[in-house]
């Protein structure tokens, strides 16, 4: 008697789907409900970002970097601007550094709130999504106050920022932080420690440390597997060494180390750490200073190339810029953290059920704009 083989079904979680975070196509081979193989197909959102950059001056590239990872646009701006300034060996005034850190940390909170809310939505909890978006709106209001835009800012320029913080920004920010910290407790009670949520996410999609490191995963996904690696500590840029914050790693609180619950929880902890950094930065920021002081008249970096990386909410964003002395870069390459996170999906999802794949995909927090550029 041989083994009875069931038919393997090839399913398509198509480009249009409520819970693939963008236009992503997943080719899934299943046997009944159990998945045997997943192949992501990307490229639906490719907009030739890197080719565009070869035809524009350095400051014209900044609105385009916004649109790559559109949910954390400040972080993209920051990464690019740090790279160009390092190439030009330009030093920015201290107030500008503080403003950049404040904006980047606010953006981190906003992006994590969205990631967590949408993850809850994929799991089926509709209410935490709306609560988190309500709080994210307050952060976007603060951004609107400063640079006029809510999602795609074009705020951080080479050598400075586009506008100084408006009067009353610091008070509003402190008000927001005082309002927001108890809300984190509410989210924990409503979703994080909810038994049904724990059943859906704990012990699922376990990413072992060595697999994570070999794939190049970074950011909260890596930290949830227990690796203490944060670019704000390990490869410091800007003024992050002045602030006192912990690097949060997962600890297998409700199951194995590196499962989906850990990735969710690390993001929740990072929000708390960002609040800490924000309080310190807002208190220590110099009150006066000209933010336009170091803006160069013409951005002409010397001949050479540079690769520099920063820590975005999704991980380790790298920019490789090559210049030949003219105002237009020869080559700009963006290394996106979500791309590596998506590539590790194939490793994680074998052997789980269909609902678990959705759960794992949500916990990796990918943004197709960044993957496809």
């Amino acid at each position: 008697m041989g083994v009875v083989h069931g038919e393997e079904m090839v399913l398509n979680i198509g480009p249009q789907h409520p819970s693939t975070h963008g236009v992503l196509r997943l080719k899934v081979k299943t046997d009944g409900e159990i998945i045997s193989e997943i192949t992501p197909v990307i490229g639906y959102l490719h907009r030739c970002f890197e080719k565009h950059c070869e035809n524009m001056t350095y400051d014209q590239v900044i609105p385009f970097t916004d649109r790559c990872d559109y949910l954390a646009a400040m972080a993209n701006n920051f990464g690019y601007v740090v790279a160009v300034e390092e190439l030009m060996e330009l030093k920015v005034p201290e107030k500008v550094e503080y403003i950049r850190v404040i904006m980047a940390e606010l953006q981190r909170i906003a992006s994590h709130l969205l990631a967590l809310g949408v993850y809850g939505l994929d799991i089926g909890a509709f209410t935490p999504f709306l609560f988190m978006l309500r709080d994210r709106e307050r952060i976007l209001d603060m951004f609107e106050m400063t640079c006029g835009a809510r999602l795609l800012y074009n705020y951080m320029w080479v050598g400075g920022v586009s506008h100084d913080l408006p009067k009353g920004f610091v008070e509003t920010a402190f008000q927001f932080l005082d309002y927001f910290e108890p809300q984190i407790e509410e989210y924990n009670k409503l979703l994080t420690y909810n038994k049904i949520f724990i059943e859906r996410t704990a012990d699922i999609g376990v990413l072992p440390q060595d697999v994570a490191i070999s794939y190049g995963v970074s950011g909260p996904n890596l930290r949830a597997s227990g690796v203490k690696w944060d670019l704000r500590r390990n490869d410091t840029y800007s003024i992050y060494e002045k602030f006192d914050f912990d690097v949060c790693i997962g600890d297998g609180g409700q199951g194995t180390l590196g499962d989906c619950w850990d990735r969710y929880y690390v993001r929740m902890l990072e929000i708390k750490e960002s609040v800490k950094i924000l309080r310190q930065a807002l208190a220590q920021m110099p009150k006066d200073g000209d933010v336009h002081q170091a803006l160069p008249k013409k951005i002409r970096p010397p001949k050479g190339s540079i690769y520099s990386r920063t820590e975005t909410p999704r991980g380790d964003l790298g920019f490789y810029i090559e210049s030949d002395g003219s105002p237009i870069p020869t080559r700009v390459k963006m290394r996106s953290p979500a791309f590596t996170a998506l590539s590790v999906l194939g490793e994680l999802a074998g052997g789980w059920m269909m609902s678990d794949v959705i759960s794992i995909l949500g916990s990796l927090d990918i943004v197709l704009g960044e993957i496809d550029r």
Partner: protein, 357 residues
């Protein structure tokens, strides 16, 4: 009882046709049409209530309309009417390779499953279309017809996702009928009768005579029954078959327009039926909680409806609070948690009645 009284009444006002078969048919049709009206109005009100309850729990206001003209009335009362009109005017798409007959038949099967059970539900002291002496047994049996409709919908859409949804749903509904039925047995053991009116009459005399308070085991039985019927009507946290983020729409993905609204009409009708059974069986039916207080004949409908509305509200409350369970966890809970507890309940109620009389 209503059908008989209506039959005699009609016979008395139209002496020419008294006692004829045609009059009997008319006497049956009129309450059924009234019931259909009740179901339709119930659906309209519940869709609106669901959206408002969802909105209030999420710190927003839901459908509103503050002006006249194109807006949906103040407080958005006309929202469901607007939705119904929109659905009526939608294009009726049947997928090319779908099994056409089954595709068209499926929504009707589900609706029949829900509607056929409503005839045995008591809404008031004399307000019941058919007072069977096997009332509750009939409701449980006929409630299972809905599964056929779901499987047909999933199969005939010629879509792998719908098939998944249909299969999951069928497994879920069939499994959860068992704890529900076993909890009903607790009621039957205490009251000794299967007839709905008989069960309600057993609970006369105020709140502490209700079956839910008779016995700690029947208290637990109420919760087991309630959660089982939340699973049977495919509501969150058990709404895997229509899980929007996973299967786009589950078994009703390929349906559009009025056919799709039939699925939801029958889901709400199902909710009405199971909440009515819970109210009648455990919460005292059309009796008022305090004897003698608003207890006269007309008030029965009011008490019954308020208990049903409360239970439906609790179902909506569950939907907007909890995440979804995965299919195997769902089955796990049914077979490994609810079934043993229901069996222990039956045992416990028996012992309790024996010991304490």
């Amino acid at each position: 009882m209503s059908v008989d009284t209506l039959f005699d009444f009609l016979g008395s006002i139209i002496p020419a046709m008294e006692g004829s078969g045609l009059l009997l048919v008319i006497a049956i049709l009129i309450p059924c049409l009234l019931l259909f009206l009740v179901v339709a109005v119930n659906a309209i009100v519940m869709v609106y209530a669901e959206r408002k309850v969802a909105a209030f729990m999420q710190d927003r206001v839901g459908p509103m309309g503050q002006g006249v003209g194109l807006h949906a009335g103040k407080w958005g009362l006309l929202q469901t009417v607007a939705d119904a009109l929109k659905l009526l005017t939608k294009e009726d798409i049947i997928p090319k390779n779908a099994d056409k007959l089954l595709f068209i038949l499926a929504p009707f099967m589900i609706f029949i499953g829900a509607f056929v059970t409503i005839v045995a539900v008591p809404f008031g002291e004399n307000v019941i279309v058919a007072d069977f002496n096997i009332g509750i047994f009939y409701i449980l049996a006929m409630g299972s017809l809905g599964v056929i409709g779901i499987i047909l919908a999933g199969w005939s859409s010629n879509n792998k996702w719908s098939l998944y949804g249909g299969m999951r749903s069928a497994a879920q509904i069939i499994s959860y009928e068992i704890p529900a039925g076993l909890s009903i047995i607790v009621i039957i053991m205490l009251t000794g009768t299967l007839s709905m009116q008989g069960i309600i009459q057993y609970q006369a005399g105020g709140m502490f005579n209700w079956i839910i308070f008779a016995n700690p085991f029947s208290f637990i039985a109420f919760f087991i029954y309630f959660i089982s019927v939340v699973a049977e009507t495919n509501r969150t946290p058990f709404d895997i078959p229509e899980a929007e983020s996973e299967l786009v729409g589950g078994f009703h993905t390929e349906y559009s327009g009025m056919r799709w609204s039939f699925f939801f009409l029958s889901e709400y009708a199902n909710m009405l039926v199971v909440c009515a059974v819970a109210a009648a069986g455990f919460l005292g039916g059309w009796h008022s909680p305090i004897p003698g207080y608003f207890d006269s004949n007309g008030w029965g409908v009011f008490w019954m409806m308020s208990k049903i509305v409360f239970l439906i509200f609790v179902m909506m409350w569950f939907r907007w609070t909890f995440p979804r369970l995965r299919v195997d966890q769902l089955m796990n809970i049914c077979w490994k948690v609810f079934l043993p507890i229901s069996l222990i309940n039956i045992f416990g109620v028996g012992i309790w009645t024996l010991v304490f009389g």
